[in-house]
């Protein structure tokens, strides 16, 4: 497939790995903040190609994993409300709320439907005018433009039975939160390519200089990730900390102004709680006041305010999401916690770091080779 297969060449990957061995002289810890990249790194064994001195840690790059329990509980409550149809991306269904998940809400008779796009939820609202259709809007800046397009279309068509439960999050404030944490060990970042496709990379310059970390905007295919790591390590070895773009075929410096304009018409920046990380100022998107008629929290009641939403119990997802430990270092990994019986969200979503490690057999022993 064009724009995919050529970026999976084993020969070029080996050449990249050799080049990385040539330039790496010190220990470096690099974080990616994109669940798609986490998945690709483990699936294609990119971590195993790298010199031993380079450690990849996996950040809060999976929006499903960081959606706060309070919003999942709210979605479950909406699903159980008479006449409501709760539409969600499939990954959200098995993410545990405080006592159950959307999947069990559906088993108990709640009308929960999985959709591929918020536009599908809009179609349901058109076809079933008697239903109150709620789209559970989870995602980074990658997903926010299509959610914006959906709600702006609903306003224009006066589809008053459509609303959004908004859980959108923004990546740069989460990177700052990771870097500000006292146990931080991240020295360089691969910035999430598709977020930057929309947003560009203007926000990263101040982060790179304030924290002295190189940031490389990186794509999703194995060769993209290897090149991103090479560019990042070159900067680390030279002792510089700038912003570079590996993913030029999709990312322009200013991002996509048309998509950003859609987002700006629908959303404003708000504080948001991240599961496992707690409250992060200005890290979320909420509906603009003039769209409050399309806010599910206006129709079904506000979600619990929970600005310190750190996963309790034996789940160490907070440490995993900050890159302080690797998934296999969690004592529950693969024992009490598996994709069939997840204790925390990173084990639920296919893009969560714990699930990726489990699926591709990264166990504890290997980690300590």
């Amino acid at each position: 497939m064009k724009f995919v297969d050529e970026y999976r060449s084993g020969e070029a990957a080996t050449a990249y790995a050799e080049a990385l061995h040539d330039i790496s002289t010190s220990d470096w810890t690099i974080m990616e903040v994109c669940g798609g990249q986490t998945h690709a790194i483990v699936r294609f064994g990119i971590d195993r190609l790298l010199p031993g001195c380079i450690t990849l840690v996996h950040g809060p790059g999976c929006p499903v994993c960081v959606t706060p329990v309070s919003l999942i509980d709210k979605a479950i409550e909406i699903a159980a409300s008479p006449g409501a149809v709760l539409c969600s991306f499939g990954d959200m269904l098995r993410v545990p709320g405080s006592s159950r998940d959307l999947f069990s809400a559906r088993a108990e008779g709640g009308d929960v439907r999985t959709v591929y796009s918020p536009m599908d939820a809009l179609d349901i609202a058109r076809q079933e005018p008697e239903s109150r259709v709620v789209f559970f809007a989870v995602g980074f800046e990658t997903t926010a433009p299509v959610t914006a397009a959906a709600v702006l279309t609903a306003r224009r068509e006066k589809l008053l039975n459509f609303s959004l439960l908004v859980a959108h999050v923004r990546v740069p404030p989460a990177m700052e939160a990771v870097l500000s944490s006292p146990d931080n060990r991240v020295q360089g970042f691969l910035a999430a390519g598709h977020v930057c496709t929309v947003m560009g990379y203007g926000e990263y310059g101040p982060i790179a200089s304030r924290f002295g970390v190189p940031i490389v905007v990186t794509g999703f295919e194995p060769l993209d990730i290897l090149q991103g790591i090479h560019m990042c390590v070159l900067q680390l070895e030279k002792g510089v900390a700038g912003v570079e773009n590996q993913y030029g075929r999709a990312v322009r410096p200013e991002g996509n102004p048309a998509a950003r304009a859609l987002m700006d018409r629908a959303f404003v920046t708000v504080d948001r709680a991240w599961r496992g990380l707690g409250g992060i100022p200005r890290s979320g998107l909420g509906l603009r006041p003039e769209l409050s008629g399309f806010d599910a929290e206006e129709h079904f009641g506000k979600a619990r305010a929970e600005l310190d939403d750190v996963t309790a119990g034996s789940c160490l997802s907070g440490l995993v999401l900050r890159g302080a430990i690797q998934p296999a270092d969690c004592p529950s990994f693969g024992r009490a916690c598996t994709p069939e019986h997840p204790l925390g969200a990173p084990m639920v979503s296919s893009e969560g770091a714990c699930a990726a490690y489990y699926r591709y057999g990264r166990n504890r022993e290997e980690e300590h080779d």
Partner: protein, 96 residues
């Protein structure tokens, strides 16, 4: 979650006049290696039939720049050349 899939636009439906003058109605059909889906093109007002776009959740995030597409190989060629020049005793990896 943020999975974006490259596809080629095979048909565009331009927005009709008089609908608020915005692009929300710009839609098109995009082929993903032969599988065709309806995609919202509101975010790529300048994209034309035949252009490649990166699509996420039924929405085209941006057009793909075909000239930039080979960068990952050009970069590899460059760093391999530098490595060869640096260490003449050792064969660098073959150029792509």
């Amino acid at each position: 979650m943020c999975l974006g899939v490259p596809g080629q636009i095979i048909e565009i439906e331009e927005p009709q006049d008089g609908l608020g003058g915005d692009l929300l109605d710009r839609r098109g059909r995009v082929s993903f290696a032969g599988v065709v889906r309806e995609v919202c093109l509101a975010g790529v007002p300048d994209a034309k039939k035949g252009d490649w776009v990166i699509v996420h959740a039924g929405f085209a995030l941006n057009t793909l720049d075909e000239e930039e597409a080979a960068e990952v190989f050009e970069y590899l060629g460059q760093i391999s050349r530098i490595a060869r020049e640096d260490s003449l005793s050792r064969d660098g990896p073959a150029e792509p």
